[in-house]
């Protein structure tokens, strides 16, 4: 179920209504769980079973991890949970990738394994990572287990962020659930503000840019090099507005229900380095990868080379998390190498102070690199990626002319607007929900989204992960 659909509006209204009627905490949790199941089943009810399996298994393993005092048993249970979770993710997401890759090797010997007909359950990468972090945190005794299976099920399935994050930690969510659902005017206004902001980002900006990028990445050989450059630069902005738009909407819906979600984006295109960029982009995944991949690999505890290698491996895995194809492996690898290079060249240097035009040029450099690396992220296969790079390198520069003005406009917005928000830190306009202009401004955002929405609403990019 898409946030931008009448079905979702109906579901949300119904949930709010029922939550207002049923005040008992148990009932409210049950309503949330039921709504989440409806939300998920609307896409494909058959995969609810998978959610139930993962939820029940990890809940009881976490109980076992707490009650057991035998370290070997605890470790075995942890490994069993990690193995089952990763096997589920591996089967649904990576089986065909494995078969395809094997076929590449076996092709010379004349073998060709058939692909399996596997449907990728929506949001699987997100909720598997959440259940994994829960079990690991309980094992490490960094988090208390959920008080009941119902609590844990509400955490795993919480519908505002079920299919595309932000990736939540149980330690962040469960205390809020224990506190209880709180309706308030503040939550209502702030939630509506987040939702309107996300709606604008998605249906006005991201979907408009999709008109350009879908075409350029579909038939790059048709266009001139300048058009392809515009498309490539626009995609980085599109994916930012698409995903941060979803995160804002998820945050808004959660806030309406009285919950706070973690911040997922923080003006990434104002970053002065790639290291800073990854601290501001998809923050919930970056921190997950740091805590459960990078640090267990050794983090920065074993010298510079090992640190860089750990970072590179983490980025490779991060790339593979996004999608089961060599494109994503290369995308992750490129970022890993770039981070490695950045650390070598900036060793010992302090982050530079803000300056004009140095800061802007550094931010543009980061943006340019992110956009170019995104060629692998967006291209459906390596053949298309190669065609895009031919155009970017002006190897065959001629082709159809098409200046899609909104792309240039929104690129300027993301850079200039980002710097304005970061440097000026405007904190008076919408920061106090009680101000009389806040509700008219939120209403204007909804009106703007309705009036200037792109022709068609495309699915959120991160739904596929």
């Amino acid at each position: 179920m898409n946030f931008v659909s009448p079905q979702f509006a109906l579901l949300l209204t119904t949930v709010l209504l029922f939550l207002a009627i049923f005040r008992a905490a148990g009932w409210r949790k049950f309503i949330l769980l039921l709504a989440s199941c409806v939300f998920y089943a609307y896409w494909d009810w058959r995969f609810l079973g998978l959610l139930v399996l993962v939820t029940v298994m990890d809940y009881y393993i976490s109980i076992w991890l707490v009650t057991s005092h035998n370290e070997r048993t605890r470790k075995a249970m942890l490994l069993a949970s990690v193995a089952v979770n990763l096997s589920i993710l591996g089967y649904f997401k990576y089986t065909n990738f494995f078969i395809d890759s094997l076929n590449l090797v076996l092709a010379r010997a004349g073998f060709n394994l058939p692909e399996l007909q596997i449907i990728l359950p929506i949001g699987i990468s997100f909720y598997i990572f959440e259940t994994l972090s829960y079990v690991i945190d309980v094992y490490r005794r960094h988090a208390e287990p959920a008080e009941s299976l119902l609590d844990y099920a509400v955490f795993v399935t919480f519908f505002p962020r079920l299919v595309a994050g932000p990736i939540m930690r149980a330690a962040h969510f469960l205390p809020q659930l224990k506190r209880g659902i709180q309706f308030s005017r503040e939550n209502f206004v702030v939630g509506a503000q987040f939702f309107a902001q996300g709606l604008l980002k998605k249906i006005v900006v991201a979907d408009t840019l999709a008109m350009l990028t879908d075409t350029v990445y579909g038939i790059p050989w048709v266009f001139s090099s300048l058009v392809v450059w515009l498309g490539v630069l626009a995609f980085a902005v599109q994916v930012y507005f698409d995903f941060s738009g979803y995160s804002d909407m998820a945050t808004g819906v959660a806030r309406l229900l009285g919950f706070e979600l973690p911040v997922n984006f923080n003006l990434p295109f104002t970053s002065q380095s790639l290291t800073e960029f990854w601290g501001r982009w998809h923050i919930s995944l970056s921190t997950w990868m740091r805590d459960y991949v990078y640090i267990p690999l050794g983090g920065n505890r074993h010298g510079a080379t090992r640190t860089n290698l750990n970072m590179f491996i983490t980025m490779l895995i991060g790339g593979l998390w996004h999608g089961a194809s060599w494109n994503f492996v290369i995308w992750g690898g490129l970022h890993g190498l770039a981070l490695w290079a950045e650390r070598i060249f900036s060793r010992g240097k302090q982050p530079q102070a803000w300056s004009w035009p140095g800061s802007l040029l550094r931010a543009l450099g980061v943006y340019l690199w992110v956009a170019i690396a995104c060629v692998f992220f967006r291209s459906p296969n390596l053949i298309i990626a190669a065609e895009v790079f031919k155009k970017l390198l002006f190897i065959h520069p001629v082709g159809a002319h098409w200046f899609f003005a909104p792309a240039a406009f929104y690129m300027l917005i993301v850079i200039i607007g980002g710097f304005y928000l970061r440097l000026r830190k405007p904190d008076g306009f919408l920061s106090d929900y009680r101000q009389p202009h806040v509700i008219p401004v939120i209403a204007a955002e909804f009106l703007f989204a309705f009036l200037f929405a792109a022709g068609g609403t495309s699915p959120f990019i991160y739904f596929q992960f």
Partner: protein
């Protein structure tokens, strides 16, 4: 956001008059900003009126702003005619849909104006009347015949047509539609259009850009999946003619051609009867581009229904026909320009851009030049 939450109040915190004064002022300023930006740069319709025979048309000397694709201000003359550079010479009427109206580009850049200018450079003084009237079927064109003859007495009538217009000429819910009168002859049935009752509302909202855009978006939302129905533009991807298998699915192309011809021939005859003193030039502008599926392919515009309509018209007697497929193809191959799409529309979709209008005009100039030169020669020799 700070401050402690109030559990009781959802709508307003119960401040006094000062709160509501600032609330109202904020709302007013926001609406005013929307209105100004929209009416100046995005959308502002001119008022319309119902004129017997002509249907619903824009009132004389009114202007509309269109900035959703490209940007232009359209100036209307009598009968919803769009202004062209010259108002004297041999009368040529161009009947068409929103492609002919071309609200997305300046009035002097659409193919009607370009043709008029180009003919003058060839020494042919023709006065082209741009009757780009969206939402008209072939039955509407037939119903217009006597009025056009009386008002403009055209030497030539150019009819920009697409397959949808033949399809909707049979639709019984439209004010003008055909019914079979037997022996392959069609009878025109004319009813009072329902939309006339809504003119007051339409003209009321036309005073505000914001209301016009709201209405436009709401209609699009409601009827986006039924193109050509009730008040929408018939320009667009061709609708298949009823009871005929889509050409792309018909295993026998000759059969498809014959069936298509049998369906549209009576409608063409009805048009010829409606404009007895004029030469008819049919202009088919292919709509749907075909995108290349491999690295060796090029962009094309061969959509089966447009193509079949053009082929059918080509084989008919006593009509002139222009099909701009080759002109579009040349535009792309020689200059890498595309006929459709502006700076704010999807690639090669939407209405014709200035390149597309120039390509259509070049074809129309050739055709009208030939016809009018021939006519002038005949006049000079007294034939």
């Amino acid at each position: 956001m700070s401050a402690s939450p109030s559990r009781k109040s959802y709508i307003h915190p119960g401040h006094g008059a000062g709160y509501w004064l600032i609330f109202a002022r904020s709302a007013f300023l926001i609406l005013l900003s929307f209105e100004l930006v929209i009416r100046l740069f995005i959308l502002k319709h001119s008022p319309v009126e119902y004129k017997p025979g002509w249907g619903i048309i824009h009132v004389r000397d009114s202007y509309s702003v269109h900035g959703l694709e490209g940007f232009a201000v359209t100036h209307y003359l009598d009968n919803g005619e769009i202004v062209t550079p010259y108002q004297d010479g041999i009368s040529v009427v161009v009947l068409g849909d929103s492609t002919t109206k071309a609200a997305q580009i300046p009035n002097d850049s659409n193919y009607v104006s370009l043709t008029e200018i180009a003919l003058r450079t060839r020494g042919i003084h023709a006065d082209l009347h741009n009757l780009g009237l969206p939402d008209r079927s072939i039955a509407d064109y037939v119903a217009l015949g006597p009025y056009v003859q009386k008002e403009y007495a055209p030497e030539i009538v150019v009819l920009q047509v697409n397959p949808s217009q033949f399809f909707f000429a049979r639709a019984e819910n439209r004010p003008n539609h055909f019914v079979d009168a037997g022996n392959g002859v069609l009878k025109l049935v004319t009813d009072q259009p329902d939309q006339v009752h809504n003119l007051a509302f339409t003209n009321f909202i036309s005073h505000s850009g914001l209301l016009t855009l709201l209405d436009f978006r709401a209609r699009n939302l409601l009827i986006s999946h039924s193109p050509g129905q009730n008040g929408t533009d018939l320009a667009g991807e061709g609708q298949p003619i009823p009871e005929i298998e889509r050409p792309s699915k018909n295993k026998d192309p000759q059969l498809a051609l014959r069936q298509y011809g049998e369906e549209i021939l009576p409608q063409i005859k009805a048009l010829q009867a409606a404009y007895p003193n004029s030469k008819l030039v049919f202009l088919v502008i292919p709509y749907t581009p075909t995108f290349p599926s491999s690295l060796d392919d090029k962009i094309g515009w061969i959509s089966p229904d447009d193509h079949l309509l053009a082929r059918t018209l080509f084989f008919m007697d006593d009509v002139y026909m222009i099909y701009t497929l080759d002109a579009f193809q040349d535009l792309y191959v020689s200059e890498y320009n595309l006929p459709r799409g502006t700076w704010n529309s999807a690639f090669n979709f939407g209405h014709l851009n200035s390149h597309g209008h120039a390509a259509v005009a070049s074809e129309l100039v050739k055709m009208l030049g030939n016809i009018l030169s021939y006519t002038e020669e005949n006049d000079e020799t007294g034939k």
